[in-house]
Symmetry: D2
């Protein structure tokens, strides 16, 4: 698991006073930052060595998120396939689970425009964040 703390911004509230649903997409993305340490250790993105592409995201809004209190995002690797993996994420505020969701990320060669196998060393690094504790590393 890796965690991130985000501070809601005034503009994150919608007119009803709740954190807008679209904000969760941004918070979950920020909370996935540690993945870039695995796949782009030097923060090089534009030089062709970064090889991840987003295939799917989903969000279940199970509680109200409010302005004024920090939010903890908990992220787990819930699946490791041959060419893709899934991140399961939760947003907690004041001890309550408010949103949970998944991101399916594909290891991808932007040159040939095809998904490619995840190297074993990176699978090992991903497995350190497995959910709940033991994760079967699948070979799709």
């Amino acid at each position: 698991m890796f965690t991130a703390i985000v501070t809601p911004r005034f503009g994150d509230m919608d007119v009803l006073g709740h954190i807008n649903n679209t904000v969760l997409a941004v918070w979950f993305e920020q909370a996935r930052n540690p993945l870039f340490v695995i796949f782009a250790p030097k923060s090089h993105f534009a030089d062709g060595t970064f090889q991840l592409i987003m295939a799917h995201t989903d969000y279940d809004f199970v509680g109200e998120l409010m302005f004024g209190t920090d939010v903890e995002i908990r992220s787990y690797i819930s699946r490791i396939g041959t060419k893709s993996f899934t991140v399961y994420q939760e947003a907690w505020q004041s001890g309550k689970l408010c949103c949970k969701g998944n991101a399916v990320i594909v290891h991808y060669d932007f040159g040939i425009k095809e998904s490619i196998p995840i190297p074993e060393d990176k699978k090992t690094l991903l497995a350190e964040h497995a959910y709940p504790k033991v994760l079967g590393v699948n070979h799709e």
Copy 2:
């Protein structure tokens, strides 16, 4: 069906030159604006008469979205339940489907914090945007 045209912004591109995945959440939200004409005809949101809350969203990224060309968002009502309904949406650019997703929206009384039935007249208005053409109005 209802459609919206969005123009990608420079800041919508991520470092790889693609439209960032979080932007789709915002575009799909904008494209659902006509729902507010149904549920908040006078654009009154803060007076307690607006009764929609987001329960779920998902996004499948099936093609690359680029800067420089407008994007058409097509929205359909794919399910009408007793207390909630589902919007199915697609993002098209240059004749290609690039993203599709769903939003499950609940009719909700923020005072008593419970979901409440969708009035029949609003179900009728929703059904005008049914997908594909005929939609069975369910009673959950």
Copy 3:
């Protein structure tokens, strides 16, 4: 002058029901898209040929912007210097000026990290959008 029409999004409203001030930065950026046709005709940004960097922006909020009505952004080139130029922009809604601001953009070589002269042919293209009608092309 060049114009852009933007449709306010539900999430663009803040909790007071107004369009949040940070949204104007994004709208004005979108409205400057035609500049990319001048400086990046092929929408190539990551290949080193794009040579603009933002030096300054300012915004005066002179009226309330609301959800539910489209906004027209009017953009003018108000200054053309040797190595930089200024874009003056206005946001109009329902016949009222609601926000006005400036963006100072520098012609910049990201390789040597220095500002560089704007080519004469691009100055001519910029001057077509001068404000009010005649613009003295300065040589700083």
Copy 4:
């Protein structure tokens, strides 16, 4: 002075690999959160007791902001007038000043749509964050 730490998000980068200029507007807004403790102690915004409106913002981009390193936002109250005040803010990354700007905020009665005097007790709270250390509390 009050400070906030923000973590750049992947989507905050533009296609050139820099933090997009529009992101600073959002970061500076987040860094002004402590002002809400002064003017909306109970985080009540929609009940008519919140009386601030943004009149002006500006941003000078004096250095490149990158992904991968946290950013410290330093905020100071640089002017306290009768009916408005100014916040001066700086964004620092890796020991370098990268952006600085001002926000002019007006004490405002949304009911009568007029600016109104800032109460003395709130002026005192603002003055605690004066820049550099001594701030003359003006009476416009």
